[in-house]
C-alpha cells in the first residue's frame, strides 16, 4: 500500500503531460477564450464576458431554450440506455458458460459490435430499420405496426435506443463476465453447502463481487451515451424535427455549421462540466462506499 515518495517520477509522467497538454489543454483554452467573446466574422472579436453563459442558462432565450431541450433529451437517452443495458448486460453475462468451446465463440460475437466504426453502426441501423429495404422495418410493418423512424419521433427514439443497446450492451457483458470469472470457486461451493438458490447466490455473492466492474461499466456507459454523436446523426440526422437532436449534434451544428464560435464554446464548457460533475459525484460516492467496506472488513479482521 505504502508507495515510496519520489518526485523524480515526474520525469516518467512528463511525456504524457506534454502530449495531453498539447492536444487537450490548448483546445480547452481556445474554447474558454471564445466563450467570452462574440464575433461577426472576419476574425474580429468583441468582449462579451459571461453573456453567452447567461443566455445559455436562461430558458426564456432562444439559445437557452434550445440548449435545455437538447440537455433533457440527452439525459433521457442516457437514462434509458443505462436502465436497459446494465441489467441486460448482467443477465447475459450470467448466461455465459464458464468454460468450453462456446465461450470463445460467444465472446467474439459479443465483441463484434464494439469494433464496428460508429458511422457504420449508424448505417447498419439506418438500413435495417427502413421499411422498404430493411429487415426490421419491413418486419414491424408486416406485423401491422406502422413504423417509420424518419417521420415518427417515437419510432426514431425506439431505433436510436435499440441501436445503442445493440452496440454497447456487449461492453457491460464483457466487463461483468470478467468480474464473474474472478470469483473463486470456493464461494460457490460454500453456497451449495448452505443450500442457497440461484437468486441468493446472485444477491449475496455475484452482485457484491461485481461492484467494481459495474462502477466502470456505468461510468463508461454514462459518459459515452451522454456524448453520443455519430450513430444518431447517421440514422436520424437529429430528426424528425429536433426529436433526436442530442447535445453533441446541436453543438456541432452551432460550431461547424453556423460557425457561432462564442455560443458553441460556452455550450461546450457547460456540457463538459455536466459530464465531469456527474462522473465525479458518482465515482466519489461509489469508491467511498468501497473504502468503507474495506475499512470495515479490516476492523473485523485479526
Amino acid at each position: 500500500m505504502s508507495k515510496p515518495r519520489n518526485e523524480r517520477a515526474w520525469l516518467l509522467v512528463l511525456p504524457v503531460v506534454v502530449l495531453v497538454a498539447f492536444s487537450a489543454l490548448i483546445p480547452v483554452m481556445t474554447v474558454v477564450n471564445y466563450s467570452l467573446q462574440d464575433t461577426f466574422g472576419n476574425n474580429e472579436f468583441f468582449w462579451n464576458g459571461v453573456g453567452w453563459f447567461r443566455e445559455l442558462l436562461d430558458p426564456s432565450t432562444d439559445l437557452g431554450g434550445r440548449f435545455l431541450d437538447a440537455l433533457w433529451r440527452t439525459l433521457l437517452f442516457s437514462a434509458l440506455c443505462l436502465l436497459i443495458e446494465i441489467p441486460l448486460g448482467i443477465g447475459v453475462a450470467l448466461t455465459l458458460p464458464r468454460r468450453g468451446w462456446g465461450v470463445a465463440a460467444s465472446l467474439v460475437v459479443l465483441a463484434l459490435p464494439l469494433l464496428i466504426p460508429w458511422n457504420v453502426v449508424g448505417t447498419i441501423w439506418q438500413v435495417f430499420g427502413r421499411r422498404d429495404i430493411g429487415l426490421l422495418g419491413a418486419a414491424l410493418n408486416g406485423m401491422g405496426l406502422s413504423y417509420n423512424y424518419a417521420q415518427n419521433p417515437l419510432d426514431a427514439w425506439f431505433t436510436v435506443v435499440l441501436m445503442d443497446v445493440w452496440h454497447w450492451t456487449s461492453l457491460v457483458v464483457l466487463l461483468c463476465y470478467a468480474g464473474l470469472r474472478a470469483i473463486p470457486d470456493a464461494y460457490y461451493q460454500a453456497a451449495r453447502v448452505d443450500g442457497a438458490n440461484g437468486w441468493a447466490v446472485f444477491r449475496a455473492i455475484q452482485l457484491p463481487k461485481l461492484q467494481r466492474v459495474l462502477t466502470i461499466a456505468i461510468l463508461l456507459r454514462f459518459m459515452d451515451s451522454f456524448m453520443i454523436y455519430t450513430e444518431p446523426f447517421v440514422v436520424t440526422g437529429g430528426g424528425p424535427g429536433n426529436a433526436t437532436t442530442f447535445l453533441s449534434i446541436d453543438l456541432v451544428k452551432i460550431a461547424l455549421g453556423q460557425f457561432d464560435l462564442g455560443k458553441a464554446a460556452a455550450m461546450s464548457i457547460v456540457y463538459n462540466l455536466i459530464i465531469l460533475t456527474v462522473c465525479w459525484v458518482f465515482f466519489a460516492t461509489t469508491t467511498r462506499d468501497q473504502n468503507d467496506a474495506v475499512t470495515d472488513a479490516g476492523g473485523k479482521g485479526p
Binding site: 511525456p15 459479443l110 464496428i116 438500413v127
Partner: protein
Amino acid sequence: MSQAQPRTVSAAPALPASWARPRGGALRAALPRLVLGLYLLFLLVPIYWLVNMSFKTNLEISSAMTLWPREPTLENYRRIFTDASWYGGYINSLKYVLLNTLISLAVALPAAYAFSRYRFLGDRHLFFWLLSNRMAPPAVFALPFFQLYGAVGLFDTPWAVALAHCVFNVPLAVWILEGFMSGVPREIDETAAIDGWSFPAFFIRLFLPLVAGGVGVAAFFCFMFSWVELLLARTLTTVNAKPIVATMTRTVSAAGMDWGLLAAAGVLTIIPGAVVIWFVRNHIARGFALGRV
C-alpha cells in the same frame, strides 16, 4: 394446466423426487443457453443484413426483400478495390490508427509505471485530470482541433488524427496499464536494482514482458477507439488523409443512395475489428477486467 402438474405430483411423498427434478434441471440448464442464443442472434442479424445487401445489385435491393442475394454479385467490392478514393480511405484509416496506438503506448507505459510505483507531488490530481479528458465529448474538441492543427501545419495528415485521438486513448491506456502494473510485486523492481540493472534496461527487458498482457489489452483498446471514431477524423482531414469512415458519409450524400456500395464498404470496415478480436479472443475476458479484478 399440464405444466403445473408435475410439480404437485412430485410433492407427494409416494413418487420418487428424482422424477421431477431432472425435468426442472434440464429446463433450467437450457434456459441460459436459449437466452444467450437469442441475444447473440440479435447481435448478428443486423450485421447479416448488411453483408446480405453488400452482395446484391442495387436493383435487387430496391425491388424486393430477399433474405439472401438471388443474383450474388461482387461488383460492389470490385468497385471499392479498384477505386483509389475508396481503398485509399482504408489505408489512411489504418495509418492513423496504428500511429495513435504506438504514440499512446509509448507515452502511457512510463507514466503508468510512475503512477503504480511512486507517490509524487499532485499525482492524484494528475490522474483525475488525465481521466477527465476521456470524459470530454469529441464534439467539444472538433472546432479548436480544426484550428490548432491548421495552425501547426498538421491539418489533413494522419498525424493530426493520431494526436487528436490521443486525448481519449492516452488516459485510457494509462488507466489500463496502471492496473496491470500494480499487479506485479514491487520486490521485482527492488531485486533488479540491487542486481545492478539500469532503469531502462530493467523496464524494457525485465518489466515489460511481465505486463505483456496488459500492453496487449491497452493496444486493443487504443486500436478500437481510434478505429471507430468518426467526428474528429472527419473534421481534421479533407483530401489526402481522408479516412474510410468519412469517405462513406460524403460519397453517400453526394451521389444519391448507392446502398450496395455503402454496404460493401461497411462490411470491409468490420473486418479489421473482427481480425483483431480473433487474435485476442482468449484474453478478452481478462482484458475487460482491466487487470484489477
